[in-house]
Symmetry: C2
Subunit: 479 residues, 2 copies
Amino acid sequence: MNRSNSPETGFIDPSGANAEAIRHLAEDVLDQLLGQLGAAEDRSPLPDESAVPAGTIPESPRSQTDLLGDLETIVAGSMNPAHPGYIGHMDTMPTTVSVLGDLVASAINNNMLSVEMSPVLSELEVQLTETIASEFGLGPDAGGVLASGGSLANLHALSVARNHAFDVQGGGLTGLAREPVLFTSEVAHTSLQKAAMVLGLGTDAVVAVETDADSRMKPSALNHAVEQAERDGHVPFCVVATAGTTTTGNIDPLPAVSEIADEHDLWLHVDAAYGGALVFSGAERGRLDGIEAADSVTFNPQKWCYVAKTCAMALFADTDVLQEKFRIGAPYMRGDDAIPNLGELGVQGTRRAEVLKLWLTFQHLGRDGLGQLIDESYRLTAAVRDHVADHDTLELASEPEMNLVCFRAAPDWCPPDERDALNGRLQRYLLSEQEIFVSLPTYRDARWLRVVLLNPFTDEATLDRLFDGVDVFLDADGP
Amino acid sequence: MNRSNSPETGFIDPSGANAEAIRHLAEDVLDQLLGQLGAAEDRSPLPDESAVPAGTIPESPRSQTDLLGDLETIVAGSMNPAHPGYIGHMDTMPTTVSVLGDLVASAINNNMLSVEMSPVLSELEVQLTETIASEFGLGPDAGGVLASGGSLANLHALSVARNHAFDVQGGGLTGLAREPVLFTSEVAHTSLQKAAMVLGLGTDAVVAVETDADSRMKPSALNHAVEQAERDGHVPFCVVATAGTTTTGNIDPLPAVSEIADEHDLWLHVDAAYGGALVFSGAERGRLDGIEAADSVTFNPQKWCYVAKTCAMALFADTDVLQEKFRIGAPYMRGDDAIPNLGELGVQGTRRAEVLKLWLTFQHLGRDGLGQLIDESYRLTAAVRDHVADHDTLELASEPEMNLVCFRAAPDWCPPDERDALNGRLQRYLLSEQEIFVSLPTYRDARWLRVVLLNPFTDEATLDRLFDGVDVFLDADGP
């Protein structure tokens, strides 16, 4: 072929003709990357004033040296979740094999759209989602489809729930006499609002159910809300329970919620995007009791299972319902008796083989390794909780159930209406002076410092640095 | 930390403590992978009877040796689009830098959900989508959001179109008196049906417009369909034109379609998932004339720009409409004046930094390199077309406009009702005997051999092998 204007390394020659040049480029990128990752603690958890290369398209190829320089700059300026002081969001450093699995997945560029385009990986995804559904106790007919992020998994599950209840695949919602409504706690993830909007239900269709002091849905409030909606002439069809709320990591009372769902004949979706990982901890999996009654579950290994993002899934207790209430066939795809074309069953069509990094992570860490990571983060969470309790000037947002703790500085000398600003300053101080990144969410109309103890290299010394910083800041900022 | 059960290489230590072990593992994976990719032409384009490892979760970590062995097996059994004989689907071998870009993106694990979680990469995505929107001539207020696949980009665009027309973000579709309908050609992509279903419009809301002999929407039929829908009491709100149909790669007449959209005040969405790449060819970009009138465009660099999947985008001529008609805020995310939180503007929330591999591909190939790849594939397409014309026993499905050609064997000695089976046997013969994979779509109620000339290493010799195989097969299978 004639590619005189293209770089020699543009593509990997399938005959090996440019093997040496490809190897040099790949090794240069790998060397530089591993160098930066192996020194991640020398950069800020969240760099400030990062340089951004121009988002333009050059006429001619740029040199590999230039590209390597830009890549180095991009990594240097990016969010740095590998830093042990990065404890602010549900964003992890990834497992090594999930990074390498993504390298392989991109290189072979298979397509989860159909079995023909991913013969091994489609089957692996079917098997592995069945395995995970079984971990949640969803029964013998359960299975699922991976999704590039939890928002899509929630959208997928609610789409099936809606179609199951109203049979609107063909005719749509316009003809319905009464409005479908679904129920979820007032602190549930905003992706549910987005899903309701996209699904044509509208955000008003999401009824926010009151929570208790620890951000857990009140069963009595749920029951009341469902009955009120019926009285208002709406049609309740679904309740979404959360296992791991975004801000404080709390778990709705799954057995009580599922009982109410059952009484009112509602689809039960459990958004276990974050908390689903607990199923891999012998010590903590009991916290998910009740999830086995779900009709569908969202679970994101991209969070507490440390798989590089994205890696999420929607699981269904009855995959026949998924087939009957969602599937749209494509005329250009060959079918297969045993393994479905997954692109016909999910919200996405063409999709990366994200199953590879998930599978590799399970194989490389084992259930034991995952369990240990989870148990260790509980230990650190208890330590954070104790630090907060030891400080008269700090208050806790809710009792931790997972590895999230929200607290704030609330010293007597600071008037209540100035405490949001105080905590904003404290957050910036911790980042700039202590190399600790905590996030600053709004929760119950106030700003909180949010700690997510995911990083495997965070230890007591990190926590000491955090609370030493709090002490010094409050002494300096105080009266 | 105490991770006695975990492998030493589970995570990359940010202090460099396990740098040597990590380097060994990464180099072993890279060596094996490059070895397999550099010999891709020695494997079948589509292996048969592939081995699939067990989709289970072991109790204890498995050895790295075992994992490398399994990885080798997975790659060996997967779809092999790097083989020059893989000319059957819109699945490419990826650019080298897009594979390496995915490695880096996974390693730093940034999150396009918010600026705080991807400070450099969010800004790069905003810049680059603006650059591409400008290539399409969408105007000074245009921009967009990347999506993990074209189905999501179409869903995103139609969601905004629907909300723009009916203002249903809060209240949903149930209250509408009349049914919204949208128009697209009878051969448009099934993701539009899926989008209509997910959006609560229902698949019936997608009106299939008749096409001409070359699979292009007939403007007169569109006009008629819109007027008919109005007479039927429906509310037309959108027309989707296709630039690059899935089966035959044809382009709807964009200027005529946009004129009709204008007359009837319809949102014009152009699904240029495949054909959008033409904008990078000086010789061929005129085929997209008219796209500048679009309200939204889907474009997938994961196809003809050779970026590892997934990499797609929804572009909007007026990003204010996107802000006003789609955005749902999240209380746990910090805003930024200049750069939006992209997770609030797209269908996905948490999302990989797929912009990195896209940006790297542009930098590494340049506009010249991309243009050359496109022009070269036109040259080969003409050669395939000539081969078909030279064979009395072969017929063409439609006149090629891009790098797709559908043809079939239709020898006199084979009765018309046996020709589907004949072409099925021919497809399998080409794969098993000639190492040529063509796909076998159903198009106009018949099976066709579909050639997609994407692979940069496919050349005349490959085409000779294809048509030699056709000759030998028809001689042997014939009367």
